[in-house]
Symmetry: C2
Subunit: 128 residues, 2 copies
Amino acid sequence: MRTRTKIKGAQAKRMKRSDCPLSCTLDLIGDRWSLLIVRDLLFGRSRYSELAAAGEGIPTNILAQRLKQLEQGGIIERRPSAKPRSRYDYCLTKAGLKLAPAVRALAEWGHSEIAGTRPLPLQARRRK
Amino acid sequence: MRTRTKIKGAQAKRMKRSDCPLSCTLDLIGDRWSLLIVRDLLFGRSRYSELAAAGEGIPTNILAQRLKQLEQGGIIERRPSAKPRSRYDYCLTKAGLKLAPAVRALAEWGHSEIAGTRPLPLQARRRK
């Protein structure tokens, strides 16, 4: 099972800039959108349409591309949906769930340092 | 003094996608390079040449652009250098220093989840 081993796919190797763990993390999620998708999955969103409806107005081509990258990076999983009108459900892998402290730290920094931000109630939901 | 108030410059407003603190943080540092510069400043690097020599091989045009963005975002400060052969010294502002927990959380995730990464000894140095 992918989530039980460290991420070591061809994708990760191809993009690797150094053996610094911060650099390798940013190779996977160092952009303006990926962690917003992780945030929404932590909050229990699971459908493509729910992720597309995020307040930041993510363009659908970027959403589709980021979902693919996050899946290849072992951070999210796509499953056939049990819900009507939805083809797939997206959820965080065990590795993806472990991004919660980083998401929280970045959000806390933003709320502390950037004017006009609301606090983010970060309570990760359990995987179903 | 800029670092005593929240970041609220024109730059931040122009780029703001929502009032989510994570989104606003990623508006400022959501890319593959900015937090690597923060990492190096946390480790006590301060010269442009030292930052350019990071193991990830940051292109100098990107380094110059990111330094400018980080300065506009209130995360770093540029000062006339006291050292020979260096025009400016860069250092983290108080707001920038507060990114240390987020840098640590992202690095810990990488070391835990990505194969072939070394641990990052994260000890932020004091500002001089």
